[in-house]
């Protein structure tokens, strides 16, 4: 019962806020709704016992990436934009196609969902020891290579961003 309340509340917040993101008038409002949606995601991760991930989500997404978005919105905000059309010309066709994709996805999930045991395991099975330890053990042993590649990715992001943004280099 409580489980249902938690899930449907969070799902409602996430879906409503995601919708507001794509419907909002200006980009700052969109960013504000996206922040709310991201916090909803973080709460959902805690429900799924991914505590470390929830913390990472708030730290990197809400406290990092969204700050970056707001900075860029401030840098490029153009006044006249708010009075122009919000949608591209092909928006009706796009919505139809996207809804088709959604129907397909949900059909697949509902029909094919029975191939795996969809019953949730009882809680605390994942947490033999703390979530941070378990994730860390996987991250720093089995997934050593992706971890090191992540640093290369970040290096590329850092250099690329500076090159793109600076006029004189």
């Amino acid at each position: 019962m409580i489980d249902q309340i938690i899930f449907y509340t969070l799902a409602f917040i996430i879906v409503a806020m995601s919708l507001m993101v794509i419907l909002a008038r200006n980009a700052v409002r969109s960013a504000l709704y996206l922040i709310s949606a991201l916090l909803g995601f973080a709460a959902l991760y805690i429900r799924l016992q991914a505590e470390l991930l929830a913390g990472v989500q708030i730290l990197v997404y809400v406290g990092g990436i969204m700050v970056l978005f707001l900075f860029v919105i401030m840098l490029v905000s153009v006044r006249t934009m708010e009075h122009q059309a919000r949608q591209t010309r092909q928006w009706k066709a796009a919505v139809v196609i996207a809804l088709g994709v959604a129907a397909e996805l949900i059909y697949l999930i509902v029909r094919g969902g029975s191939i795996f045991v969809t019953k949730q395991p009882p809680d605390a099975l994942l947490t033999k020891s703390q979530n941070t330890q378990v994730v860390g053990e996987a991250l720093y042993s089995t997934y050593l290579l992706p971890f090191e590649i992540a640093s290369v990715l970040l290096l590329v992001a850092m250099i690329g961003a500076v090159v793109l943004a600076k006029k004189k280099i």
């Binding site: 700052v28 929830a54 913390g55 708030i58 809400v62 406290g63 700050v67 900075f71 401030m74 941070t132």
Partner: protein
């Protein structure tokens, strides 16, 4: 039933008490600040309201509530209203994970609102959300000074947040736990405060904390001589007071985390020396408060003593001094720890 009592009723009581103490504490922190700075400058400070100005914070609070609340005509009303809240709420929620007493204190309910596995990560993450309030507040005002102030302020806050994060890693290497309760317990079992193990990490943390809370000598965002008032120029009345309270709440957060991570939290000084056990006459939560007050005093003392940095100096210190030193501190700590493994 038991769960309901342990995780809803008892925490609710603690939360109400903590919020009340925090609100009162913030009010009197302003009085303390004015009095201490007055002493540093050979003045008297507020003297009129009550004995030696003891009722001054209450008068200030009332004034905030009854002042007219102006929303500039060009402002984005929704964002303008919500921004001070975004700045204030994270500053308060961090206290849900900061332990102020041992797990067996307060009649066995534990000297904390809750003890989660990722407490430290949670505290760092949540306090990083506060910067959004500053940016949104400055943007929503749609006026030049607030926008510039917000950009400066947020650039400064994010710059120092990075070095702060690296500073904390130094402690984590020694403590090996993200739970703040366990970090304090570790300091008890090791018999030494982490300040003596990680002095560089502490200095970085505390200076970055000053920059994060926009306090002197890092109070560029509010540099009155150039930016009028920074990101809250257009704010008045109660909304302004929310930003103001958020700044002071952040000061208390930074001090509390500094005490928890580096100065043994609720532990008395030299908790392993039995000869000093007479110090136990002061209960652990009170030790915690005393230590926090010392740090808050240093905040004010620094404000009364040092001039403000220039913005380019500020950025240089953050990125070219604190960040490399903090990273080096992490790796050197790691290398030294290898010897003890």
């Amino acid at each position: 039933m038991n769960i309901l009592v342990n995780y809803v009723v008892i925490p609710l009581v603690k939360i109400v008490v903590i919020v009340a103490i925090l609100s009162g504490g913030i009010a009197y922190l302003t009085l303390m600040e004015r009095k201490v700075i007055a002493r540093l400058q050979h003045r008297l400070g507020p003297m009129r309201v009550g004995w030696h100005g003891i009722l001054q914070p209450i008068a200030d609070g009332l004034k905030f509530i009854i002042k007219e609340d102006i929303i500039p005509i060009k402002a984005d009303r929704f964002v303008f209203t919500i921004a001070p809240g975004i700045s204030l709420v994270p500053a308060f929620i961090v206290f849900s994970v900061i332990p102020f007493g041992p797990p067996d204190s307060l009649w066995g309910t534990g000297g904390y609102v809750t003890d989660v596995n990722i407490a430290l990560l949670f505290a760092v993450a949540v306090s990083s959300v506060g910067v959004l309030g500053v940016i949104l507040g400055g943007w929503a005002s749609n006026s030049k000074y607030p926008l510039l102030g917000a950009l400066r302020s947020s650039a400064q806050m994010v710059s120092y947040e990075v070095a702060m994060g690296f500073g904390i890693i130094g402690v984590l290497l020694v403590a090996n736990s993200l739970s703040l309760v366990e970090i304090v317990e570790k300091q008890r079992s090791m018999g030494v405060w982490f300040f003596f193990v990680q002095p560089i990490a502490f200095l970085i943390y505390y200076f970055c904390g000053m920059a994060e809370t926009n306090r002197l000598p890092f109070d560029l965002p509010e540099a009155e001589t150039e930016l009028v008032g920074g990101f809250h120029t257009e704010y008045s009345g109660f909304r302004f007071s929310l930003f103001f309270i958020a700044e002071y709440a952040n000061m208390i957060t930074v001090s509390s985390l500094a005490v928890t991570l580096f100065f043994g939290g609720w532990l008395r000084p030299f908790s392993s020396v039995a000869a000093l056990s007479f110090l136990d006459i002061i209960p652990p939560p009170l030790w915690f408060v005393i230590k926090v007050l010392i740090f808050l005093y240093i905040f004010i003392w620094v404000r009364g003593t040092l001039p403000r940095f220039r913005f380019d100096q500020l950025m240089r210190i953050g990125w070219k001094v604190f960040l490399p030193v903090a990273m080096a501190n992490v790796m050197v700590t790691g290398a030294i720890l290898l010897k003890f493994l």
